[in-house]
Amino acid sequence: MESDFFDNWTTQLRKGILELGVLAALRGRRLYGYDIVKRLGDIPGLVIGEGTVYPILSRFRRDGLVTTTLVESNEGPARKYYELTPLGRRELVRMRGSWRAVRDGIDSLASEVDS
């Protein structure tokens, strides 16, 4: 029961945070899909199935948050590089602001008892 609750909570948390993670990974650089997945995979518990990142990237492209460029590769199929658009950069700033506010708020709530 406790485990179910925690699993559900982490799933919900991950869902929202993953989108922020994708935008953050692209801040100031151009990356291809697998590279984004690997970088996000380095954050413990953030990416459970690597396939979840691609639908987010597709949606971001449709919403105008990222642009894509196809680059031929000697190793296999052409690689699709993703890059933030000005809209994507603005949204990232806003999302990071919200994220920091929530994180700091919860941290301060939790530290009230300690102090």
Partner: protein
């Protein structure tokens, strides 16, 4: 360039096929784009792997990638895909019931089920649509189910960017017949109230009304019905074509597969014609108004 063992190639093809089935019917998703994403991911993940890549190595990459359903976890589904998925258990249940039949009926049913199962998903839908349509000749409500299954198959083909090809001969009969019936009903329904109203003229008033309309008493009802029908139909077509001018995709949604050929310019022409007819009809409305007042006064 990465090479796969034949076994690994089959494994990858199966995964891509499952992904294609999972994403079909989801609005805004391009199956070919996802296929390229999967291939690019797999090849990038196996860049430093020993060649040729074995099925086990590939399986590990695909396991980390997640099940095919993961590619559409947060995408909306089209209503037709939803209906097709809902109809799937009904099909399975029917197969179970066939299995429960005794003797030859069971054998025949099993043979048919095996054949249908052996078909690809798209052909299965097409055969089910035609089957429902044929059985619907005995039990007409099944035509509605046939219509929806046929639409699901057409939507599936469109979303995959495929042509229906020979499948259209299975899918078009229910689709065309129901679409044409629906179109005729929507186009001509205002005739019914017009004819009904014309019957409301009392027999005792017919000769007086005939004088006002300058026709013989026998012609009162047909002339009144025609007059009212021209008015109601031209008004309805004016409204309907106005809606189509504003939303040109609507006929394609309502009357597949040919409704999509109706363009905004066609709707504009119908709008102008029907509006002209309606204006002409209004110009004759003074006589109709007098007749109506007279009928109401004497009733």
């Amino acid at each position: 360039m990465i090479r796969l063992t034949p076994e690994a190639q089959v494994y990858l093809d199966d995964y891509l096929s499952d992904v294609r089935s999972a994403v079909a019917g989801h609005a805004g998703i391009s199956p070919s784009e996802i296929k390229e994403d999967v291939r690019a991911h797999v090849f990038a993940a196996l860049e430093n792997a020993e060649l040729p890549v074995s099925a086990a190595q590939l399986a590990a990459v695909l396991d980390r990638l997640g099940p095919p359903s993961m590619w559409v976890s947060d995408e909306p589904r089209s209503i037709w895909k939803y209906l097709a998925d809902r109809l799937k258990p009904v099909g399975h249940k029917a197969v179970e019931q066939i299995k429960a039949l005794p003797g030859e009926a069971y054998q025949a049913g099993r043979g048919l089920a095996a054949r249908v199962r052996g078909l690809s998903h798209d052909w299965r839908l097409a055969y089910v649509a035609l089957g429902l349509f044929v059985v619907g000749m005995v039990f007409p409500p099944l035509w509605i189910a046939a219509y929806f299954v046929a639409r699901a198959d057409v939507a599936l083909a469109r979303e995959r960017g495929e042509l229906l090809g020979a499948r259209r001969w299975l899918v078009y009969p229910p689709l065309v017949i129901i679409s044409v019936a629906l179109f005729l009903a929507l186009a001509a329904w205002p005739i019914a109230p017009a004819v009904g109203l014309s019957h409301e003229i009392p027999r005792s008033l017919k000769s007086d009304v005939a004088d006002m309309m300058h026709v013989s008493p026998k012609a009162v009802q047909p002339v009144a019905a025609t007059y009212l029908a021209v008015g109601t139909v031209s008004l309805w077509w004016t409204i309907a074509s106005l809606v189509v001018v504003r939303y040109p995709g609507l006929p394609g949604v309502l009357f597949p597969p040919f409704g999509s050929k109706i363009r905004r310019i066609d709707a504009t022409i119908v709008l102008l014609l029907s509006a002209t007819v309606f204006v002409c009809w209004l110009s004759r409305a003074d006589t109709a108004w007098q007749v109506t007042q007279e009928v109401l006064r004497r009733l």
